[in-house]
Amino acid sequence: MKRTDTSNPDYYHRVVDCQWGCPAHTDVPEYIRLIAQGRFTDAYMVNRESNVFPGILGRVCDRPCEPACRRGRMDEQPVAICRLKRVAADHKDDIQDRLPVVPKKKNGKKIALVGAGCASLTVANDLMPLGYDCTIFEAQAVAGGLMRYNIPAFRLPAEVLQEEINYIVNMGVAVKYNHRVESLKDLLDEGYDAVFVGTGAPRGKELKLPGRYDTENIYIGIDWLESVAFGHIESIGEKVLIIGVGNTAMDCCRTSLRLGARSVKVMARKPREFFKASAWELEDAEEENIEIIVNHSPREFVIENGKLKGMTFEMMEYVIENGGITAEKITGEVFIPCDDVILAIGQENAFPWIERDLGIELNKWEEPTVDKVTFESTRKGVFFGGDSAFGPKNIIWAVEQGHQAAISIHRYCQDESLHERLPPTLNLGSRKMGMHEWSYSNDFDPAARRKMMHVSLQSRFEELGREVELGFDAEQTAKEVERCLNCDIQTVFFDSLCIECDACLDICPTQCLTITENGEREDLLQRLKAPVLEAGQPLFVSDALKQTGRVMVKDENFCIHCGLCAERCPTAAWDMQKSFLQFPQAADYASGSHNGKSPCQQRKAG
């Protein structure tokens, strides 16, 4: 094999599994290290830089970083990355003077943003410091979108939400509340330099079965949650059925309990392994004695004298092969009584306010055609991001798309190519100095993941908005931060220094290093000291070594970044270096010349 090209930032980025897994590339190990040092405000700012809403995401993020976490491959649970984010948010000091400065003198460009959800807010966050004039049009009386009126307050308290929205709105964003945009044409006619559509995927899917429209007691999940959030609905019947088993269903069933339901059943069509809800949301619901019933396919709403009596379901049996359903069979029918039904089977895009003759292409499901890099629609100057662009996802994706759209809007307003984008950059800095004192803590801690404590089942239902998760205490935090393997402290190899003494190979606790004759990939894999179990992880292969012409091979898969190889190496051929990845944002396009280099170093600390 040829020497692995480690100059491409992707190589070391992939090694930092969590950061690679995060759509916004949050520098997770860096902020965990800062928390370990008690620098909560710094940790918060590292987060805010990429994910904008650390307090919110520290509670409700979909956390794609956690299944990716290297720690999870060591036979254990991943680091509680999301919970630690909340620790930073909960314990930070005032950050007002650390927010980007908004220039007094505007640049003369006006941007309209439709919807005040996380996508639009991110765009405003990125553009305001560059001197843009941003106006957000929001149909509701408050900002936040689904975060505000769909994610229940017992998961995400209103104060936390408001604080982080304020950081953005207070930059001087003009927010027109109670202002539903009814016509994009009219908006375009107002002469904005660019328009960003961040209106989400607002339409809950219907379940058109017999009886659907013969009663008042069947609700669309997201609309129902919204009515609860705004205080329009304050109670529900004793027996409630939730149809669907995604995250919306989890919020609906738990909210029902808080509105007085005694028995709540979540009805799933398929077996558990096909549930869409995140594992932790299921767990939290089941902790509250929610019953989840599998293999029941809805058939009919049963109405007697205009009153909902219950529903009939077909009982299903499936043949499952290789994780997929290959055949299904109906084994019978059952009636389940209830007072109310909440439908939580998905969301769709809907753009009744976008005229079809504006050059904005929408397909038959009303999904707009959006460029995956620039987030521009088929009409120049109109951009989409968040759930409105590619259908319902989650907050962190909406944020990342907001960052990208902000770059495009800036480039568009400056008459520059949208497709020419700055590459991510990588900095490596040696951590040899202070390896045992201050530079980082690299003793492997075998402790198991700390468990989040919850408000007791007795008191949790007293108030609709009582937050269930208590956050980590100091002791839990101290333990959990040490579980992080510091994947950003990279093992960097200097081929010409190696004298092939084998010291690193012998000391490596996971046997992920091998010195052997070079060969083709498949052949090399056979000769490694430990088998490669995760084909997706990079394999590092050095140049021919000086003394024997063999090569150093490292399987990045199982490296725990303990630093023993570097400590054992007599010639510093292995060096532990901190990788510092930069992902350009709109601000990086604004200042000075680029020459393919990102100026964002100036913004970062560390």
Partner: protein, 351 residues
Amino acid sequence: MTYIAKPKIDLPGQKRNVLGLLQRDYEGSMSTLCAGCGHDSITAALVQALWELSIAPEKLIKLSGIGCSSKTPAYFVKGAHGFNSVHGRMPSVATGAHAGNRDLICIGVSGDGDSLSIGFGQFGHAIRRNLNMLYLIENNGVYGLTKGQFSASADPGSTAKKGAPNLMQSINPVATAIAMGASFVARSFSGDREQLVELIKAGIAHPGCALLDVISPCVTFNDHEGSTKSYAYTRLHKHQATAADFVPAAGEITAQYAEGEVISVKLHDGSSIVLKKADSDFDPTKRSSALGYLEKHRDLGEIPTGLLFIDEDWPEMHAIYGTAAKPLNAFTFEELNPGREALEKLQREMR
């Protein structure tokens, strides 16, 4: 010196030996030697060999003298017996230990200073007695522990770190051992793991004194240009005279060899050593051939490695002395002290 503790991590798919032990169960405490020391590689080879042989830790005794090399026993098989003796006296202590319990597998680790300078006499007598042990010399040409003075194995003309040449002749442990009548003599290099592991296994199986001289660069005091015991010099000049494959008793010789190239030596416990020779004029079962071969390659400036001499049939210490088949420590007090009557009877017989 390593400050970071080596974590114990259980990974999917890790292998266990016949005793159900992991390779890491054959490790010892964390090495305090210099980073990159050849001795640590030898430690790793010992760990691998002992694990592969599935030797129960309590069946093993590790002995040493003084020196960086003599610290090695602390770094492998934590659960074994051990004795770190005085400088150059490892063979006496090993003799005593093995006399007391002949069932123990005995590994002595020494240095070139420990065995060829202060302990030269002891070294010779362990060989003469054919003490059943693996006698491993970690040979770096210097006294590492006392900061790099030339040892007795330093080659004439090779230079110290600051440039001073060595003007004395060197003692070659391999040639000396053969000349003194050793029954198993081999040489290896700390940087040649494959060869080293096989030779360690063969040496342990050999019923007698198995001398294994391992070139083991002192990365701190003897790895410079001008050294003849550096990583680079050894790699450039070593010549593998034989490739040894150790085949355990239950194993089967599967490899195919051309005739004349290969000798198979059957050991008493049923295992065998298959030797593949590089040169047809060399017969490692003949003392004269072995010594001649060593001299010839010294002229060529080469360092022959591999199994260089073997005589399976020479009796080991217990056979020579005709001692009891049972280890001494397995006898009862009454057996060991048969009483005044028995003593008097013995004395009468001797009058």
